[in-house]
Symmetry: C2
Subunit: 326 residues, 2 copies
DNA sequence: CTTCTCTCCGCTCAAATGAGCGGGCCGGGC
DNA sequence: GCCCGGCCCGCTCATTTGAGCGGAGAGAAG
């Protein structure tokens, strides 16, 4: 195929462009164009093909956000999701914080658009979700439910603990916060806390959730707040059982099956079951090391919308191709 | 119409883009897309319209030369020419010399493409035509015929007098030069020169011409080499008779009618009649002051291809609209 | 609560279109 | 010279598509 731009020559390019403009910009029918130019309609069709193949006409997509359309569509199709937003690869390598802010902004825009009055919105407590809440500028009035406790010691410079209240104040809806740690030392403490008035009320909302925003963690150091919060013994025990991903302190294996481990009993968080029942789950997961975890979570069928970056999307697609969904 | 890019929102834009990509890039039929997305084919059609109207998809034309497609097409249609090449307006205002070089380059590329062995190519002697010859890098073998004498005193820094020989040497064809001035003092001298062996031979080729490149001059100071070469009395006499344009020392009135004036008898140049009989005449005329002259020449029906610049094209279009061709 | 209007949707039918086919033209090899 | 293969063209027929229409649903006005 030597049909590069110049392969056609100036004269022919002009002719193609004239026809293409008539067709694409002015919406003329091929028959009409054929009559005007005194050629057959078949010739017009061939010219239009040639124009596109040779690059004389280009179709360009201009999204109102820096989203990689091709990757997004491929992942959406591969995992049969409702929506996928892949953040375009930045021209320069960028820090994790910058990437997180971009992902957060993208998620915030999406959320602002799809949430309506009547929704009950759940927010997982995670860095990327917090980045999203920072970027939310408006939101229809609806209850905001915290899906899991707060991981102390993470980075508390921002007002992360108040995330839910902040979003609720933007929205004008009722906040359901969880003032308590995500990971607790033992089952008893956990049970006790769950019965605390405020916390119990929040847990009571889990069945009503219509939308939720969660973050996907990989079962690796630095890639999951829960992983980082556990001691070495429990981390590796869980890893040995094949945990690949963590969402709101709930674990998934490589096939996306929810796992029941001891961890389940000493965290303050929505259950995997409740999470799976939420009609619209927006999952945030980005950077290359998370690809495997994202793959796992997508296979669970829990996620309806994925927001990721190109760095994660490329290996993710390979994983999807390697093990296509049945 | 408030349907600007953002008027649609991110979610809808993504959806439109996904459909549009499937249609424009992958060439899927609307029916097929409709089935995939679970919508009606009418919806797909409406979405594609919306995508184009909202600017989510843009069609872009990439010509292998800096040609303004819209102006070119409009002028082509208005004057019913075969081809029009309007040089794009430069981002910065540029000198006449730079513009001339660009026009020349454009003309050279066109000529290289459309000339074939078997053609007999005529070249008028003019600054822009010389600029073209400078830019010609290759040309099929064909006779090169000089259409008019050389205007001494113009700018002779380059090897303009040898233009025809140079082109002929690139082409490998026979040169038919005119070694003689364009404007002569009287009829007798002119007749004598025309009978000179070399010149007579060249004049003999005029009937065989299949293609010619000429420059359009306006009957104003600095806008025509012939105008500049005459004395004030003759200039104004001709102007009073309504001359608007000059091509190869032949004059045209505002309606494009060839004029017979005394000038005709003391120039060494192809006759208007012979020029009108050439099947393909490429006319070069640029800069705003020439618009009226270009209009006049195009009305003569002599020109098949016009090469101009945006500065001339815009007022030219106004002239075409003011007096549409019958 | 009713009614009106506006918008969105998908239907019908006629027109536009694409896939595939065979004929004619051109250049190269025998 | 003559044949052959490749290429470009425009035909037929089945499929796709667009224009215009009427119905359904939402929201506003009465």
């Amino acid at each position: 195929m030597s049909a590069k731009k110049q392969g056609l020559g100036l004269v022919e390019s002009l002719r193609l462009a004239a026809v293409a403009r008539r067709f694409y910009e002015q919406g003329a029918s091929k028959l009409e164009i054929a009559e005007e130019f005194g050629i057959s309609r078949f010739k017009v069709a061939r010219m239009l093909d040639a124009a596109r193949e040779s690059g004389v006409v280009r179709v360009e997509f201009r999204l109102p956000a820096p989203v990689d359309l091709v990757l997004s569509e491929e992942i959406r199709a591969a995992y049969r999701l409702d929506r996928v937003l892949v953040l375009e690869r930045a021209p320069e390598p960028e820090s994790r914080e910058v990437a997180r802010r971009k992902i957060g902004t993208l998620a915030a825009r999406l959320l602002t658009e799809i949430v309506t009055t009547g929704d009950v919105l759940g927010l997982s407590w995670a860095r990327s979700v917090n980045a999203m809440t920072d970027a939310i500028e408006s939101l229809p009035k609806c209850p905001i439910v915290q899906l899991c406790g707060v991981q102390a010691g993470m980075d508390m410079r921002d007002r992360s603990v108040e995330t839910v209240s902040r979003v609720a104040s933007v929205s004008g809806g009722e906040p359901y916060p969880i003032f308590g740690p995500l990971v607790l030392p033992d089952r008893r403490t956990t049970e006790t806390l769950r019965r605390q008035p405020g916390i119990a009320e929040t847990f009571g909302q889990f069945k009503n959730l219509t939308k939720a925003v969660v973050s996907i963690g990989a079962w690796k150091p630095e890639e999951s707040t829960v992983y980082d919060a556990l001691d070495e013994a429990e981390r590796s025990a869980i890893a040995k059982r094949g945990a690949k991903a963590e969402v709101s302190a709930r674990l998934f294996d490589a096939d996306g099956n929810p796992m029941s481990t001891g961890l389940a009993h000493h965290v303050l968080a929505i259950s995997a079951e409740d999470l799976l029942a939420v009609p619209e789950v927006i999952a945030l997961g980005y950077t290359e090391p998370k690809a495997e975890a994202i793959d796992a979570v997508l296979r669970s069928g829990m996620v309806s919308t994925l927001i990721t970056d190109a760095a994660a999307a490329v290996p993710l697609l390979k994983l999807a191709e390697a093990r296509p969904l049945p």
